[in-house]
Chain length 460, copies 2
């Protein structure tokens, strides 16, 4: 570590109280992106960030309009063209929160208790995006310069699926150009076990509808000679898995990048016991492809799940009909290098091949998301690993996230750069739930780790 | 045929216009059993029947109270103890009808058009129960006596599932004692093809619920190691049928009375072509157990149908969950001599045997109904057949009804007598629909056939 990063880290510690006060200011703004009534608060939040970033001495700070809520863009390019440029992505919008939902205090009036700050957005993502802002400040207010160039892309629509982010990136590719991107919007199991995500799952989400008779039929007058559509749907779904719980769709696994022995050894360190999995979910027994351990199944392997079912009568009591149709929602979580559209075609062809002539089937694509998989031996990833050792005080694990953050694949695809997911949250931060919280120690360690990371990146 | 029945038939023809006017009086009373606001109309209808029957010279006419709407009971026992006694069951209540539902005229102001009388209850069941009243009148006003003793049991709750009929029968077994019962509350395909039902299907109606995780799970964080309850339910349902579309529940067919070659030959006469079945239902192809023809499958064989399905998210768009549970309604139509409670136990045991340890299952009984099967070579049935030849002018077919009329099994079981289902309606009378109608020719032929039937019964 250099003197510059040591000074920056000391500054961040010395100013920890003020940083927290500033974070509280952010948390007091109810920047709900999904509620038109809060459009003014979203705008106020963007303006707060603009003012705040401008005060830190960035070269350029701008509220940039989109078809929806604006992007706050900031850049500091003082490291010069010989140094790498880091793109920081974060989001300043939040999901709704009401005291009545079970909050112990006003969700938009932050309270500090037992080393945690309680407020909507504390961990998701105001606290985590602020880590990067404060790391940059710590350099600019000490050495007067950061080791690398920085570009901040802070959006206000993440909680409503970022409908305008991809067009924004496409339109501003040149402005956003960078060597690596970093996102802090995820979490780790415990403070002692920092983790860098190097993969997220993608998605193909479909709707299947099986049609039989024109209308619901009286089961007494017609039952026995009609292929019940709910029955037919069940028969199709029952063939989605092989006996070993692998997915039966032909070609489904063709493009899956195999797990290396090295990665499997790393994943094994974070595996869950069946008892842990059962305790967390409440299931009576663990299920799935026995060729893979539980952690692999829920993060590194593709999945297929029925998300919803409907047909005929579901109210109280009996109704003696043969339903006219039956439907389901079905989605696959995908891993590198599965293509969501190719998977849709495979699913559709398989479902159609399973459909007997006694019913008709409709397979509709609802949504897709690309998986993201970054090699963890790349310079940007290894720089992050070193930063954790020095800044956090622990060797991080490279792990795979089972969920999907579409922006990750978008940045990787559109900009052609790796995305490093340095999640500074904790798994039990309660994001999207009542009493969302963020550990002040995580906040402080996140800032220091980021300070070191910028330095490590400079030597990349 | 005797002089007595000839005279009675002549009387019924001569008084046809008046009979129709009286039927219109009945149809003007909106005796909706399901709507408390019409309780007064139900009472008015019962009183109208009481007054009318008393005017015909019955020995006894009485409005008898139940826990719900009253029974109108009438008897004429003048044939004496050496002659058989016939119990006539009918119902004077109707389902709702509103002009706005698509009626071309006020549903409670009967209109005659093209030989049909249009009104709610015209065929179901005021017109058909009146057939028996007018047949009796035709004897009493000519010969002064009928060939057999008659008991009329007219209830006011059939359209709300007859909650008080079974207790009423149990309480009044001695009063109602008879040798045979007749019910006219069903229909035939065309006026040229009279039919006597000798069987109705029973029912076992269950609800299945499969439980997996405690709550809905995030499919990205947990998917891959949990047996999705909707998937598990589909896998269970997919095993309800064998490859030949017979029902796979062990023991399901054990108590089914085999169809005789004689009955199969009779059923073949009313079989539907696949094209007819497809046109009526709109299905793309016929389905079912190929060992039986279509008519057998929909009326003489037991069935199993999913009546409803539910799980997780069924609203618009995607929701990426593993649902906590999945459920379905499932019912079997049963035939003689299947026992609905035994079938429930078989279903439950089979479903539980199919349930893997990765989920839990709950199988709940919702409702049961016994099947009814009467040999068509019994004296009462053969008397009815002869009555159609003489009174209707065509040889009737003995057919099986695919639906369920619980009172039939109740009368048969509690009173130990056969029930003859002489349906004088037409399949396209539109019962329970707008513009319900009853053919005046069917009404007249029904009266004459019943007149002959009473005479045939006397010689039984």
């Amino acid at each position: 570590m250099t003197q510059a990063s040591d000074a920056a880290r000391a500054y961040s510690r010395a100013n920890g109280e003020r940083f927290l006060d500033e974070l509280k200011e952010m948390l007091r703004i109810p920047s709900l992106s999904g509620d038109p009534a809060h459009a003014g608060d979203i705008r106020r939040m963007a303006q707060w960030l603009e003012t705040h970033l401008a005060g830190l001495g960035l070269d350029r700070v701008e509220i940039m309009e989109t078809a929806g809520h604006p992007v706050v863009y900031g850049e500091w390019l003082g490291a010069g063209p010989s140094k790498p440029t880091l793109l920081v992505y974060g989001h300043y919008d939040v999901v709704p929160a009401e005291l009545a939902d079970g909050w112990q205090s006003d969700p938009f009036e932050p309270v500090v208790k037992d080393g945690k700050i309680y407020a909507r957005g504390a961990t998701d993502d105001k606290g985590q995006l602020f880590v990067h802002v404060k790391a940059l400040e710590s350099y600019l207010k000490t050495a007067g310069a950061a080791p690398v160039n920085l570009k901040l892309l802070l959006e206000g629509e993440e909680e409503v699926s970022s409908p305008n982010l991809k067009p924004f990136i496409v339109e501003h590719l040149e402005l956003l150009r960078a060597d690596v991107a970093v996102i802090s919007d995820t979490s780790m199991r415990s403070i002692e076990e920092p983790a860098i995500l190097h993969s997220l799952r993608g998605m193909t989400y479909i709707e299947i509808e099986v049609h039989g008779p024109r209308d619901d039929l009286h089961s007494g007058l017609w039952g026995g000679a009609v292929h019940n559509p709910a029955q037919a749907l069940a028969e199709i779904l029952a063939r989605m898995f092989n006996a070993d719980h692998s997915i039966a769709v032909p070609g489904f696994y063709d493009d899956v990048v195999p797990l290396t022995p090295e990665e499997r050894a790393m994943i094994a360190k974070t595996d869950l016991t069946p008892e842990q999995y059962m305790a967390s979910t409440g299931v009576p027994a663990v299920w799935g492809d026995a060729a893979f351990n539980i952690r692999e199944r829920i993060s590194a392997r593709p999945t297929l799940d029925v998300n919803g079912l409907w047909s005929g009568w579901s109210g109280p009591g009996p109704k003696t009909i043969v339903p006219a149709k039956a439907g389901c929602k079905l989605s696959c979580r995908l891993v590198g290098n599965q293509d969501p559209h190719k998977i849709f075609e495979l699913l559709k062809a398989y479902i159609e091949s399973l459909t007997p002539p006694t019913v008709t089937v409709e397979v509709r694509l609802l949504t897709t998301g690309k998986p993201a998989l970054f090699p963890f031996d790349s310079p940007a990833m290894q720089a992050a690993a070193r930063a954790y050792v020095a800044g956090w005080g622990a060797q991080p694990l490279f792990t795979r996230g089972g969920g999907s953050i579409p922006v990750v694949a978008d940045i990787a695809d559109l900009m052609g750069i790796p995305v490093v997911l340095m999640g500074f949250g904790l798994d039990d931060d309660g994001l999207h739930s009542p009493n969302e919280r963020y550990s002040i120690e995580m906040f402080q360690r996140g800032i220091e780790t980021t300070i070191v990371y910028l330095e490590e990146l400079a030597q990349m």
